[in-house]
Point group: C2
Chain length 766, copies 2
């Protein structure tokens, strides 16, 4: 390079930097995973934002004629790409869960005769629902746009952390409405709505709250709405039959322009006259604590009516988030996959705290967060594996706050338990294990969580000793959860054993040998459910007898949750060596793995496997669910790491695509995406709470990870290509790695990891 | 008196004083009014206390087979003297209302097989209900005791302001239980229970909250319980069918020893082993704001387990309350009537604020009370007449706080209205008028309320201009509420007119002539519904035509509420002179009054008259309801004050008795009792918001009113006897009164009012 070009480059640099600052967010495609089982939402939000403002294409009844309606499952995030109507835009959504809730506070613009029911997808004209076409749809990070064909309204939305901002471009009409449906939501059944209050403060400001009994049992969302234009009229419909005292309704006509409403099933409408192409905007702020806080959140976060500015602000936040890992990929599609994975791994848990630091605790009290930001929606069975370790790399402060939030949860718990699956001041105790201990231990061992480590250890120990929870008592007594006690006795045992190992690691870290010994011993309990005769983990009753009628492929009723024994038998991430020996040595494990990835499954298997499409399965390896997320790395200890390398690149290629059907299973609150990110970078935390990552096969050409400590960790893959999936050699800071292990400290110290790729296995790699 | 006896007296004085300090509370008989229509409760409470801990003898369903159950009305306060079973002890009760609500958080001790349903009165053994006998019952101020025959448990209770203290003396049993029924309450119907949360913090502390939709639409009561003895087991039953997500229940056995419960219909039991005569005590603290505040309230108010001390503390509070008026009466029964009236006039409104000053506002937000104590349960249609004026004499600080509470309500109202009938952060808008303006004006004019009087005036004006409330718009436009608009058009018109006069008086007091003129003009609107042809107030339609089909005696559907036109036609307390002229002069009014008090009524009248027993009626004068409470004083302007004197004494004798059936109608939150108190003292506030009291006929022999300003006002009735009901002369500070009017200032300056009584009318009195 000539000196003149250097100078030119220097001159250009600031400009390029600014230009670059706008670049990465373009790769984010929120539509990925909105089809089939991805359960992502296409709407607008900021990183870990409290508001997820997104269209719902349907929220069908949970039960029809008293019978569970299986169709409801697809609407966990409210949106299915195949649908052709939108019922409204609601403000809270899970990303990628396998259970439904949220969809709070639905807003829908309509024109013409007022309708307060949603109508049906086949006859949208019978309700406020509208047809739409994907051609009119734009889904970006923090921006969603769609043209609603029935009311002829262009709907656009963006958000700040706690505020959803709607911009509706209406046709000319004397009958333009904005419907506020406080009855409907995701997980729709009679009884979900507990109570609703609405207060119309003036001709453009409305506050209220919504209390529900869904997946979270006792949950209240407070809100405040401002309209950019005064409504000329407003009204309410309260359809519950519970209000016996009718005096309220006799004294005032409460259906029309009455400002103080309450009921179980409340729907509101706000009426406008609009000119052609007139924009009516509304801001909806949420709070976990009070209407007053919601209003304050709005005043602080969005004191203006500049939609484009708020969109830009939010996209700048996303850009900063994405900038943490600057990658060079092989194909344009890979960029979209990578940055959309980063996007999906920065949606949950969500901030659950007002600007003034108040939040609702598990104890249903208002708390003041001291020294941390409170988060909610911890899908820990999923996220302890790769998501939280990923956070410990690129989002350390947030992960520290998440651990602090879990500790707050613990301190508020009557059960004295860390969260299992918690959201919105509740625990639904979903899935098996007590994996918060993994997240806590990992964050302390990696130096991320700065709170009292001893208190954290005691919280872990107490959680692991909740004898009346999910067979823990028997597990402590017998060394395993007996078959007759639980339908998921084996996965419970295996996961408890891993979790116990995490507690032991934390105890060791803190020098508590007694706890270390106790929990190291417990961590070997996986051995108690391994049936050597068949070479698989298998349910065992309290008398020590393995179950006789046992299906190796079936995922239901066989002692496991979201996985069969083929996948779960490898769930000893903390002692793979021990497992390998138990299984008969390297070759046995190697051929087990080969079978897992290649065997042919009968059709019934696919019918019975939850959460994932047929494409989410490779052989009998179920990538769309989590229990086997680490197993491909076990090839490394079989002396066949090239098989791991090959299969990792295959999984990355097979399981992550651009487009609405780009995810083969639930994204599970970022876990699937975090798996993609680690593996694209070439390593993976096989056993969180250790400080080790196992080396796989990178998919990036180059990557530059900017850490919060200011250090930079650079990854390069020489000779990278679609075919060069094998590692010829791997060097850390110029030195050959002595094992296929990367230490956390190696990364956070900053440095360079160099892979030299090849199209043939290097069978002498290590 | 000899000097020696004087000295002896001086020596004895301090002792006597101490002895006296214990005396008055003995005259309080909370059982008075617990039969038939009195609707008082016999349980324990302190003056204006937030907790009213009282037995409920039944809380029958609001509807049977979908039809309103008329029987429910008698249980407004939860207790009917005729009943022979008790269903439990609940912590909140209205005193003397004509509508049901409260009865929160029922506690019941049981022994033997656990039963969580209440059972029926005819078969109490089928539930946790128990038989009892009045012989075992003791009802004192702040103390209630009863022997529960089925479990053989002696139940005793006392309270502090925010804490109910239970003492249960059990027999020996391995199966002693304390049932906590959070489903049942007064105003019992499906849908009243909105949500309940219970948290068992340890083996003797439980917190929770209860959200209901009753007469108050959105109401939450938070509680904290401590048991004096750890329970050995506990459990819950949740009978609602609304909880679709069953994961909660699968993960834990939530029926037994599970500490984190929630649901719509929750019942709990706490189990003990007891020795013979073992006492198990429990403290229940309430809060309008949070469980945390409830616990704090308990820690501050009752940090001990000394039942007798708390009882004594509360009785001392009552003694101080009663000491404000020291009377000498004619008979022992009169003392009981007088001090029980004082007791009943110091129960409501109740304190609605935690120790830390937090309370729930009408806007459902948590507020910090700045410079006042917040009160709730304003039965203003009743209490503006005599109760609040009574408070302005003997409880000025509390009444100032009550006005401040009403102003806080106003500032939190989306409707921008002062309360109509408000309780527990809600307005139920019950009854006619906007009588808070009378209370506000009276308190300001009498110098009691020290807040911003201009803000108060504007609140009154804005309330009176709520055009969409109860025909106010038409009233403003036409000068009356038209018949076709409201079933109570005439009482609305009459009461609005009086209220408007109050606003005018306040405006005059503040020098706002414009508002004065406007509202003085409005205050004459009573003329618009007076039908000169028949000499009665009468419904009139919007075209100006009086209703043709009109019954002078009927109280239902004739344009009035809780009164017929005979009683209501005199409802011009602010312009009796004008009314007299309209009616044809002194003689006409005099004979109207004579007829009212002596006419014979057909039986159907009694069947159709609400809230009162047959005994609550004298002639056609209905003392058991309020609209005519002032009318006996109209004799004074007819030139026949002796008739007033005679009839006042008659009403006092007829309508107030010792014993459970001592009240002829609902006590109406102290209004009936305040009427008794004023009239016993010899004067009455005919038109609150004036500074005048009209002279009647005292029933006391002597009275000594100790005012909060330190002044003493003494009343003596020379030659007082049951027959000497007539006033021969009346002297203020030794000077003969120039009219039968006593000024408020005359009282608060301190002084002596001397009546000379006689057994014959003094027709030249004034």
């Amino acid at each position: 390079m000539k000196t003149t070009s250097k100078i030119l480059l220097l001159l250009l640099f600031p400009i390029l930097t600014v230009a670059q600052q706008k670049e990465l967010v373009k790769y984010v495609s929120p539509i990925i995973g909105t089809a089939k089982m991805g359960h992502t939402f296409p709407g607008a939000t900021v990183p870990f934002g409290a508001v997820q403002l997104s269209p719902d294409t349907d929220t069908i009844p949970y039960a029809v004629n008293g019978k569970y309606n299986g169709e409801v499952y697809q609407y966990c995030a409210g949106y299915q790409y195949k649908d052709s109507t939108i019922v409204g835009f609601s403000h809270t959504h899970f990303s990628g869960t396998g259970h439904s809730d949220l969809g709070d506070i639905r807003v829908m613009p309509t024109v013409g005769t007022l309708q307060l029911n949603a109508g049906t997808s086949d006859r949208p004209e019978n309700g406020y629902r509208s047809r739409f076409k994907h051609e009119s749809e734009v889904a970006e990070a923090n921006y969603y746009k769609v043209y609603l064909e029935d009311p002829k309204v262009l709907a656009e939305m963006t958000t700040s952390n706690r505020v959803g901002f709607h911009r509706y471009t209406f046709p000319k009409s004397e009958q333009a409405h904005i419907v506020l449906d406080l009855k409907s939501g995701i997980y729709d059944y009679e009884g979900k709505n507990v109570w609703t209050v609405v207060r119309v403060l003036n001709d453009s400001v409305v506050t209220g709250f919504l209390q529900s009994n869904g997946w979270a049992r006792t949950r209240t969302v407070y809100f405040a709405i401002k309209f950019s234009k005064p409504f000329k009229e407003y009204g309410a419909k309260e359809s519950s039959k519970d209000q016996v005292y009718q005096g309220f309704w006799r004294k005032f006509n409460q259906t029309s322009n009455f400002p103080e409403l309450a009921g179980r099933n409340l729907k509101m409408h706000f009426d406008f006259s609009t000119e052609e192409s007139e924009q009516v905007q509304l801001k909806m702020a949420l709070s976990p604590v009070s209407m007053r806080n919601a209003l304050e959140n709005m005043h602080i976060e969005v004191p203006h009516w500049d939609f484009d500015r708020l969109k830009r602000d939010g996209q700048n936040l996303w850009e900063s988030e994405l900038r943490k890992i600057d990658v060079e990929m092989l194909t344009p599609e890979d960029y979209v996959n990578f940055y959309t994975a980063m996007y999906h791994a920065a949606l949950m848990p969500t901030i659950y705290m007002d600007h003034n630091g108040q939040y609702k605790g598990l104890d249903q009290e208002i708390h003041q967060a001291e020294g941390f930001t409170n988060y909610t929606s911890f899908s820990l069975w999923d996220t302890f594996r790769a998501f939280h370790p990923y956070m410990n790399l690129v989002n350390t402060q947030r992960n520290a706050d998440m651990v602090a939030s879990m500790m707050a949860h613990y301190s508020q718990s009557t059960l004295k338990m860390l969260p299992i699956w918690s959201h919105y001041a509740n625990d639904n105790w979903c899935m098996s294990g007590y994996h918060s201990v993994s997240v806590v231990a990992d964050a302390i061992i990696k130096g991320v969580y700065k709170g009292d480590p001893r208190a954290a250890l005691m919280a872990c120990v107490q959680t692991a000793n909740t004898r009346n929870y999910e067979g823990i008592g028997s597990y402590i007594k017998l060394g395993y959860v007996p078959d007759e006690l639980s339908g998921t006795s084996v996965s419970n045992t295996l996961e408890y054993a891993y979790d116990d190992w995490c507690i032991a690691q934390l105890a060791k870290h803190l020098g508590d040998i007694a706890i270390y010994n106790t929990f190291m011993e417990r961590s070997e309990n996986w051995r108690n459910v391994y049936d050597k005769r068949i070479g698989f983990m298998r349910p065992k009753d309290s008398h020590g007898n393995f179950r006789t009628n046992f299906d190796l492929l079936e995922t239901h009723g066989q002692g496991f949750i979201e996985g069969n024994t083929w996948n779960y038998s490898l769930y000893v991430p903390h002692n793979p060596q021990g497992l390998m020996e138990m299984m008969g040595g390297k070759k046995k494990l190697d051929s087990y793995l080969d079978s897992l990835f290649t065997m042919h499954l009968p059709d019934k298997f696919f019918a019975n496997t939850e959460d994932i499409t047929r494409e989410g399965i490779i052989g009998n390896y179920v990538h769309g669910n989590e229990p086997a997320h680490h197993v491909v790395y076990f090839y490394n200890i079989c002396g066949s790491p090239w098989k791991a390398q090959d299969r990792i690149r295959m999984i990355l290629n097979n399981q992550y695509h651009n487009g609405h059907d780009g995810l083969g299973g639930n994204d599970d609150c970022g876990q699937m995406s975090a798996w993609y990110l680690f593996n694209s970078l070439g390593f993976y935390p096989v056993a969180p709470a250790s400080d080790e990552y196992w080396i796989g096969s990178p998919a990036v050409k180059n990557a530059r990870i900017t850490l919060e400590n200011g250090k930079v960790f650079e990854i390069s893959a020489i000779n990278q290509s679609a075919k060069n999936v094998y590692i010829k050699e791997v060097l850390l800071n110029g030195e050959k790695l002595e094992s296929l292990i990367l230490k956390h400290q190696d990364i956070v110290a900053g440095g360079q990891l160099k892979f030299v790729m090849a199209n043939k296995p290097n069978k002498k790699l290590l």
